[in-house]
Symmetry: D2
């Protein structure tokens, strides 16, 4: 059985519509509820809601918190999925790559362009792919989105097309 | 067969999430597509997209346009549903009531607290109720939302509870 | 506040897909869960799951049970919605009409052509309309489906078109 | 860009509810429409609807047709996903394995326990995983379902639990 930790940090994937402010915002954890829609009979998933922030507002301290949690987890060597805002997902991934020792498991960063539960959301697709990816990928840090896998040092977000693209 | 005209003006019910701006906004007509999800075998529906605005930005000119379109329609005496932002829905309804001559059909204003297609949206419920209401109600101008019917001069929006309430 | 009792009896509207048998069947109550998707701030709803049967298998005893429950409720005069299979919905309605004394509230029978939760289902539309109808209709027994209201002695199911039609 | 062929053959994943017969059946192709819900910017997908059958009714001739289509495709070496009923998915996979020469691409068989578009369906999850799997897996024939990957000669369906399990 796959041992899998999911760290949630907010970002578009977890945004909800607020009737009081008529805006979308990071108000509640959403990932756990959506994982409940997937069939994962061979997966022992633990969801850890660490923060709930637009990734443009993430600070160095926030990234240190993510690193600390990942380091603590690595002793038990579960696969790790981190849900994250797309705007600074690569930045966080590169920070983890520079700081962590050689990995023995894959760490996948994922998120969404449109929030979970909104028509046309890519959130559940990306979650599904990420949970599948950590089962197969070699150790390393990756971004998984839209049927693609990128090593974290070969990817950037392309805002105009709402996707991630390869960089050399 | 019920002859029914639906005038769409924007408001929350038609807002969509924009991946470019990470906000919700009135960008496209949505009502027609959602009406396609309802079974209306005894209903001859014509959808007229008039504008697509947050109702807080509606001007006197916009309300004159709505009035002009309603007046033009009334010669053929169809039932009329107007989809509208909730913030100034009552204001538009009162304006129509003060200006229109004695009605021979019901006119129903409706909208939503959460956009169509977002999880937990009340939009399709309100549309369903409004299309049903114009079949049964006496001539007059009403707000129909959340299983309730209000004559337009006896209703106000209660923002804190995201609902409409009766006023004497 | 509208006092509303919903009696559920099964029928297509409550059918679910069984992975064990690869068929659809009446296995569990569904109505209560779907009512939770509607906003009913001015409605005091009580759901009474009475049976869960394909209406082609309903017996005289079953109809007596429905009648007994309705009679018991009528002392408190709530509006009543009965969810029911479409094949014998009219038969049950006519039986209630012949047996019940003069009504002081509307009783609405409704159901669906495709089960709740299946793509293209008309179940939530019909529920929404029925809950709205009992708020407005005069006392009497009705079938409410697909934006239409029929007095129970002027309606029949038209199987080929999956709808109900008026009969004189 | 990933070159991907999807062969559809029916099975539960493509079953729909028929209002005329009140049963679920293989009536229309569904896969293409559901693939449209996924974001596949780096994927050149071609969908080939070959047949639309409950897999318990598949004949030797049907399996020969699948083989012939796969063989024809292999000259261009796209990845291949085959959607298939779960009851004989393994049988078809083993037949392909015994007959095909050494593969240079992965072939993934997938399906669903509950049809696409029914509440609680695992169909879109399995499609998402399969399209991702063929991007990463080594050449060979696999069953991909519910976050798991099985070489086709190490898997059987476990009907009681509605899942696939490993066999040695």
């Amino acid at each position: 059985m796959l041992k899998l930790n999911v760290i949630t940090t907010g970002g578009t994937i977890e945004k909800v519509y607020s009737e009081q402010t008529s805006t979308v915002a990071n108000l509640d954890n959403q990932i756990d509820r959506y994982l409940g829609r997937l069939r994962l009979p061979d997966c022992d998933v633990r969801v850890m809601p660490l923060m709930n922030k637009d990734s443009l507002e993430m600070t160095d301290d926030d990234r240190s918190s993510i690193l600390a949690l990942v380091e603590q987890m690595l002793s038990e060597q579960p696969a790790i999925v981190i849900t994250h805002g797309t705007d600074t997902m690569v930045q966080t991934g590169l920070y983890l790559k520079q700081t962590l020792p050689e990995l023995k498991v894959p760490i996948v960063l994922t998120g969404a362009m449109t929030p979970l539960g909104f028509e046309g959301s890519d959130g559940l697709q990306n979650l599904t792919e990420s949970l599948f990816a950590v089962r197969i990928l070699d150790p390393g840090i990756y971004v998984v989105m839209h049927n693609q896998v990128f090593p974290v040092d070969h990817v950037r977000k392309e805002r105009e097309t709402s996707r991630f693209v390869w960089i050399d």
